[in-house]
């Protein structure tokens, strides 16, 4: 676990830096609120509609497919670490795993789930 201490330091710095910057700027800057300053910015024009629009379900399908291949990646990792020791036998096992998922990839590609329209 020694090798992860730098990661912890990095995270602490990454959290501390914005907090410090934001805190200092909060203390130092003037605070003169007005109504027009708090309204939404739209290149100087007055806003008419809400910023939200209809969200299509294609994003969700892309996210679900991403998740499946993400889990596949997670299982690629232990194989990659032990690749030399597992030799040809590990390659065959991993090959079966990847082949089944390649099959799934081919299926979704041919169904057109990877194109946007």
């Amino acid at each position: 676990m020694r090798s992860y201490v730098p990661v912890l330091l990095l995270i602490l710095v990454a959290i501390a830096l914005p907090v410090v910057i934001w805190g200092i700027s909060r203390i130092v800057r003037p605070h003169i609120p007005s109504a027009s300053k708090y309204s939404t910015y739209e290149c100087g024009i007055k806003t008419t509609l809400e910023a939200r629009e209809k969200f299509s379900v294609r994003y969700y399908l892309v996210a679900v497919m991403f998740l499946v291949f993400d889990v596949e990646t997670v299982f690629l990792m232990p194989w990659a670490i032990q690749m030399k020791e597992l030799a040809i036998f590990g390659l065959i096992e991993m090959g079966i795993f990847l082949f089944l998922l390649l099959f799934g990839y081919g299926y979704i590609w041919s169904k057109g789930a990877l194109t946007w329209e």
Partner: protein, 495 residues
């Protein structure tokens, strides 16, 4: 490392349907989404071919007495029984699916592929000897069923049912997983036999008992026992009829088989009073609630769903009795239940009633148009009610006999009373088919619509009717050939 022949023969019952399931989507690659007729026929033929291949392989294993295993996958008698059971159910479902999907207008190859994947998961679930394979089998059998429930996307009801099944099923699976984690944490082992020994100790760890209780809850969800039965009516109503039939028969059967294996390994200790009383309470509640709720239904599929809940109650009563003869009785009951329920769900497709048109009003008078199918479904209904000399009667008789011999007379009495009550709602269907006249509106609509032919579904229904009668006329042969052999080889009873 290479696999020995024995190990390969253990996985082969899984590989054959999986191969079919992987190849089937290839047929659905038609860009136009409405595949040509011969491609559709080839898809169904391939699905049936894979199921038949798997079936023949497993029966060959059964006949030669081989019980191979691969690691923790035990293709012993329980696994082979599950293989035969699930593949027959799936074959009947595929036959009915041809007509059903054509009537709904939504013929897709993915439906068959998902069905075959579910078959693989079911056989895996019943053959699993350690907690990981159990959980993986549970997920592999459930996820295709979630998608299959919602597969006919033309109906909003289907999505709703699929969503309900998915959410409740995910909660049950996570319960199961939490229980497995607790069991592993206490015993440092995933193997069922080792966990059973640890739980059989004089003072088992309370954490392990909690884990076993959670695993039990996962099983009870799949068996549709009270209070985990809430999903059943909505899901069966929403799913296509053959899929409902397949779910009601195969998931329940496989869950019972896996539960028997888990109980037989000693998880939790079957001799203890706790598990017996817990199961008894659940079985009583399931029987009572299933039968009472089925009385009030106007929709045939919901009635059948509640009836399948009540049958789960009878099966659990058999598990409460706990002797080898009771387990054999439960296995015979499952076989009879396969034929009866697939027939009961099949009548709707065979008469051309798809989607939401499944109320009792819709079937009035249709019995005279197709008398052969109506007689077959009447036999199935009478068998479900437990009327001799049909198969259902013998199944219930074996279970009640064992209960009385073990001294649980009150439970047997409740079971018999529940059977008597159930006769009313089972007879409603034949009465509506034969003795009631259709309303004028229905007659006009039927005259306008072209006659619906459902040859394969009708054939499947006739096969079910014949099986019901055959098992009723020769119960002893079926019992000896199938049920008794499983119990002899597979269980070590702690009594």
């Amino acid at each position: 490392m290479s696999m020995s022949a024995g190990e390969l023969s253990a996985i082969l019952p899984l590989l054959i349907p999986a191969l079919g399931a992987c190849l089937l989507p290839l047929a659905a690659l038609d860009k136009d989404q409405e595949t040509v007729k011969w491609v559709r026929g080839a898809m169904f033929f391939m699905a049936l071919f894979c199921l038949a291949g798997g079936f023949f392989y497993v029966t060959r294993l059964w006949a030669t007495g081989a019980q191979p295993s691969y690691g923790a996958l035990h293709m012993d008698r329980i696994g082979q029984y599950a293989g035969i059971f699930v593949m027959v159910a799936a074959a009947l479902a595929v036959l009915q699916l041809w007509d059903h999907l054509h009537q709904e207008g939504w013929v897709k190859g993915e439906t068959l592929s998902l069905l075959l994947f579910s078959v693989v998961g079911m056989i895996l679930f019943a053959s699993a000897g350690n907690l990981i394979l159990l959980f993986l089998g549970l997920e592999l059998l459930s996820v295709p069923l979630y998608a299959l429930t919602a597969t006919v996307r033309l109906r909003a009801r289907a999505f709703e049912g699929g969503m309900k099944y998915f959410l409740t099923g995910a909660v049950a699976a996570s319960c199961f997983l939490m229980g497995s984690v607790l069991l592993y944490g206490v015993t440092s082992s995933l193997d069922l036999a080792v966990i059973g020994r640890a739980l059989g100790a004089p003072r088992p760890d309370p954490l392990a008992l909690a884990g076993a209780a959670l695993v039990l809850m996962g099983f009870l969800f799949k068996i549709s026992a009270v209070p985990f039965h809430q999903w059943t009516p909505d899901v069966y109503e929403a799913a296509p009829h053959p899929i409902s039939g397949f779910m009601s028969v195969a998931t329940k059967g496989v869950a019972v088989l896996a539960f028997m294996r888990v109980l037989g390994a000693g998880v939790p200790a079957p001799g203890s009073l706790r598990i017996q009383s817990a199961l008894a309470v659940v079985a009583m509640a399931t029987l009572i609630l299933g039968n009472l709720a089925a009385l009030a239904q106007t929709n045939i599929k919901r009635m059948l769903a509640y009836s399948s809940i009540s049958h789960a109650g009878y099966i659990l009563l058999g598990l409460v009795a706990g002797t080898p003869a009771a387990y054999s009785g439960v296995l015979f009951y499952l076989l009879a239940y396969l034929a009866m329920n697939m027939g009961a769900f099949g009548i709707l497709t065979a008469l051309g009633l798809v989607g939401d048109r499944t109320t009792f009003d819709q079937v009035k008078g249709l019995g005279w148009k197709r008398p052969d199918l109506a007689i077959a479904v009447t036999l199935c209904m009478l068998s479900l009610a437990g009327i001799p000399p049909l198969a259902g009667f013998y199944g219930k008789y074996m279970i009640f006999k064992e209960l009385i011999l073990q001294g649980h007379v009150s439970m047997a009495v409740v079971g018999v009373l529940a059977s008597l009550v159930s006769v009313y709602y089972y007879l409603r269907l034949p009465v509506a088919l034969f003795l009631e006249k259709p309303s004028e509106k229905a007659e006009r609509e039927a005259a306008e619509r072209p006659a619906i032919k459902a040859p394969l579904a009708g054939a499947a229904l006739l096969v079910c009717g014949v099986l019901v009668v055959a098992m009723g006329l020769f119960p002893g042969t079926v019992y000896k050939v199938f049920a008794l052999r499983v119990v002899e080889n597979a269980f070590h009873f702690v009594r």
